[in-house]
Structure formats: C-alpha cells, structure tokens
Amino acid sequence: MQASMTGSAVSAARQRGRDWIARLRLQAVRRPGDFLFRGLTYLLVLLVVAVVVGVAWVLLSGSLPTIRAFGLSFLTNEAFDPVHNTFGVRPAIFGTLLTSAFALVFAIPIGVGMAVFLLDYCPRRLRAPLAFLVDSLAAIPSVVIGLWGLLVLAPWLQRTGEPWLQAHLGFLPFFQGTPHGVGLLAAGMILTVMILPIITAIAREVMAVVPVAQREALLALGATRWEVIRYAVLPFARAGITGGAILGLGRALGETIAVTMVVGNQASPPSLRLFDTGYTLSSVIANQFGEATQGLFFSAVIEAGLLLLLITLLTNVIARILISRLGRARVGGLTV
C-alpha cells in the first residue's frame, strides 16, 4: 500500500515534469522569440545567483585551513604574524567595532537632526539645494575622503585637535595616550562623515510618510513644531530610523580604503583610547593580501573577509527587516 502510494506520487511528479517539458517545447516551436528571450533572461539571472553563491563559497572554502588550524581562537588571537605562522584578528574586530560605534554615536543625532531640518524647519527655497548638497556627500569617492583624512585631518588632530581634547577631556578614558593624528579617532571621524548621508536620506524618507493628520492633530492641540516632531514624528519613524542607522553601520563596518588610510594599521593593546592606532577587518585585508599568496597566511586573509561578510550580512538583513516593517510601525502616542 505504502509502496504503491509513493509509486503513484513519483509517477505523478514524472508526469508533471513531462508536461512541463512538453509545454516548453511547444512554446519553443510556437514562439521562438519569447522562448529565447525568457531563456536568456533566466540564464543571466542564474549567473547572478551563481556569483553571489560563488562569493560565499570562495570565502568559505578559502578560510577552511585557518578555521581548522585555529578554530575560534582566530577571533581572540592578538597577532597576525606570518613569520610565526600564527593568525588572529582580535585587534581588527575591536578596531572595526570601536570606529563604527563612534561613527554611529555622532552620525545618528546629526543625521536625524539634518533630516528634521530639511523636512520641517527649512525654508522651502533652500530645501532642494541643501538636500542636494547633503546627498552629494554620499557621492564623494572614499579614496578622496581618505586623502583629506590623511593629509589634512590627521596632521590637524595631532597638532591641535587631540592635544586640546586631552587638555579639556583628558579624564575620560577615550582621550588618553600620545596623539598620533592617524588612529581610531581619525577613522571614526571619517566614518561619521561617510555614513551621514545614508542615515539622513533614510530618516527623511521615513519621516516624510508620517501621516499629515497626526502632525495636524498635535498642532491643533497647541503644540510647538518641535513638540510635533518629538511626539508625533520621531516615535512613528523610530523603526525606520533605526533601520537606516543599521544600514549606515553596515557601511561603516565594511568601509575599506578611507579607513585604511587613516587608522594607522598598527595594533595597539586593547583599550578605549581613541588616540591609539589600530586595525579594522577590511584594512587587514587591504594591507596583507600582497604577500599572502599561499598557506595559512592566504587563508587567514580570506577568513578576515569571511568574517567581514558575515557581520555586514547580519547588519543588512536586520536593517531591511526594520525598514520594511515600517508600514506596521506603532503610532507613537503622547508619553509625557
């Protein structure tokens, strides 16, 4: 009984397959143009899918040797040392997270503030040109930002900025140590500028879809414009703004060239001192690929790439879920 049932299921599936092929054949004969066009399109799409899968597969298979050799200690090892054939990316992960966190801390309030200004306070005439300038910030190639960071920002930080911070805020753990100019602080500042346009653009998009009735209701109650923003707009847009911030975080985590130019590329002992030089996952790759053509060294560089891929994938998926959930976002009430 059982056997015949599965047998009939199999034959039904076979029949469906035969039908499908027959339909395909019919289509190929009747409408060769459509058949060719669809076929070509599907083929190219499959190629795109293959590329994405291929990227993941190449990184995964390439990092197998170091995964086998070091396991989880790859994440905690201090040294990236081809001479002694021991590899770890702890300083790089630390540097990546610290600089990206720094960038988020400053870019979120500034970015959201800019969005508020452009949407609510800005005179109508100024709106388009200001919005264009802010958006254009995203179009600057990162090597140009890096150029400015290394030749202008870093020397300024070393001579003026960091000594000033040390003199006035030196009691904080962030502003201790020797001012180098290049280092985690410079990288964090550069990243702030680079993720600002993304955060503002998305904040503006999600704040623009807040129902007008909700703003007007609060205005009718006698609220000031800031209170409208504070109580009617921002709570409504919170999920979307968070999504935009995480999208910015993804960009900050993966930014390579500008960070490589200003971060110093020298591991320091772990601390919160922003004046120290450091490494990020992407700058490890950019600095080490030159000699790493075989063995564990080769594999270690690729595993750094794999980690970077995993971290950015995770942040992007979370961000997209938050942004797409916007339609169902909770309508913020008065919580005074």
Binding site: L44, V48, G62, M114, I140, V143, W226, A286
Partner: protein
C-alpha cells in the same frame, strides 16, 4: 461627560502657565538652531572639500595631465594618462559584464518573477548592495589573480562588474514596475508577443529611468578603490593586455597620497579633483535629466 474631561495636570500644553510656555518655545528655538547648524555644517563640509581640493589640484590640470605617463618617484611633472586609460578600460569591462546581468535581473524581477524564486533573487540582490566592495576584490583575487600569478585588468573588471549588478537591477525593476499595465495590454492586444512587448514597448517607456540606474552604477564603480587594490593593482605604464596590471584614477590617488614626496601628494589632489568632478557631474546630469532632486542614499 467624563470623555471630555482632560486630565490637566498631565496635559503638556498649558496656556495658563506662561513659564512652561516660554520653556517650550525655547526648546523649539533650540531645535531649529541645532538642526540648522547640522545641515549647514554638512553642506559646508562638502563645499569646503571641493574648494580645498580644487585649490591644490588645479595647478596640475594641464595638457600633460591628460597625455603623460607618471614620472619616477619624486620627479616633477608627468601626468595621469595611464590612470585615465585604465579607469576607462576597467569601467568599460565592468559595464560590459555588469549591465546585461543587472538588466536581466531587473527584467526578471519585474516581468517574470513570482513566488519564492523571485523573493530569493530579490534578497540576493539586496544582499549584494550591502556587501563591502573589498569582498568582491577578494573574490576576484582568489579566483583570477592567485591562480594566474598576476594582477590583471580582467580581474579588476570582474570585481567592479559585480558591484554594478544590484544598482542596475534595482533601478530597472523599479522603473519597469512604473510602466502602466494598459501599455502592456495594448501591445499584447495588437498581437505583439511577450518578448516584443517587453523589448519594444515596456523597456523604451522606462528608458530614462534605466539609464539613470546605469549612470549611477558607472559613477559608483569609477570611484571604487578597495576592490582594485588586489586586482588591477596599478602600474605607471600603458597597458594593452587585459591579463596584466592596469592603472586607475582611484589607485593612483591612493598611491600618491601615501607617497613621501610633496609633489606626488599635490598631484593626488589633482586626481581627486578630476575623479570628484567626474562622479558629481554624472549624478548631477542624471538628476537634471530625470528632472528630480529626490533623495537617493542607498
């Protein structure tokens, strides 16, 4: 009766309390000033960057910038001809591969895709957008550079082409969806086949939008450095072989910036100026052509 009673103790807006009122006005004024300051600072930074780079770089923009090879380190003079040639070759290669792939993906998502296959492809395309570009450099490096024992223009083009795919695909999908259903139905009613409808009616109707996506993708990869470090690598010679290293504007900016020589650092500004103008003019032209100053951040 009780429905109209407002708990005045908790009500935030109290016209009967002038001190509170003044504080609320002050908060509003502070918000105006602070947010305006942020917006003006960000815009001012962009203008400052352009002016600063132009001021230092403009002196090198002359005939030899476009016609000469780079000189030996520390020697004055020389130009960016190899970098310009290399960027043209790399972007051309990337466009040759990336645009058809992106277009096909966009057409599939808007016209053919249904159910889980379409959802999967859309997810993968979104994923591609968020992956750091150096990962694609690493991919091309492992796949082409390491086995062939040589950095090459080909590997650089491959890395850049992958970066182009999601931008072109999403732009194509979005504008194809905007083409009215009536237009497709009219075409089919006149006896056109599916492929004819898409190729002769739908795509031409969405032409300017697709072109926008393509231009933005080109502008984006023209400024990419990270994936080229480990693929195209850079050279100070003209190169006619796709299997040998090739120069690029961003790579040369990177090299010159890290150079210990003042003359080369100054030349980096010239390259940055040209690259920035290239990228900003492209996006400006696109915005002008499409007639909108819409936000575009992703």
């Amino acid at each position: 009766m009780s429905a109209t009673m407002v708990d005045t103790a908790k009500h935030p807006f109290r016209p009967d309390r002038p001190a509170l009122d003044a504080r609320r006005r002050a908060a509003n004024a502070a918000a105006v000033i602070l947010t305006a300051l942020f917006a003006i600072l960000a815009s001012a930074f962009l203008l400052y960057l352009i002016v600063y780079i132009a001021r230092l770089g403009l002196q090198f923009i002359n005939v030899s910038f476009f016609t000469q090879r780079p000189r030996a380190q520390g020697e004055a003079g020389g130009g960016w001809a190899t970098a310009l040639q290399g960027t043209a070759v790399l972007v051309g290669l990337a466009a040759l591969v990336g645009i058809p792939l992106g277009l096909a993906t966009g057409v599939y998502l808007s016209e053919f895709g249904r159910g889980w296959p379409a959802a999967t492809v859309r997810f993968l395309v979104d994923t591609l957008t968020g992956i750091p570009t150096i990962i694609f450099g690493l991919f091309a490096w492992v796949l082409i550079v390491v086995p062939s024992h040589s950095f090459s223009a080909l590997s650089g083009g491959v890395a850049l082409s992958i970066i182009m795919i999601p931008t072109v695909a999403r732009a194509t999908e979005e504008v194809l969806r905007l083409v009215p259903r009536e237009l497709r139905e009219a075409s089919v009613a006149l006896g056109a086949t599916e492929s004819r409808t898409i190729l002769r009616v739908v795509i031409p109707a969405a032409r300017s939008g697709i072109l926008t996506g393509v231009m933005l993708a080109i502008a984006r990869v023209a400024g990419e450095t990270a994936p080229l470090l480990m693929t195209a690598f850079g050279t100070s010679f003209f190169n006619t072989s796709l299997l040998r290293p090739i120069d690029a504007i961003p790579l040369r900016i990177f090299d010159f910036t890290l150079s210990p020589f003042q003359t080369e650092q100054n030349q980096a500004y010239a390259g940055a100026l040209v690259l920035m103008l290239l990228v900003i003019l492209t996006s400006l032209a696109v915005r002008w052509a499409t007639g909108g100053f819409q936000p575009r951040g992703r």
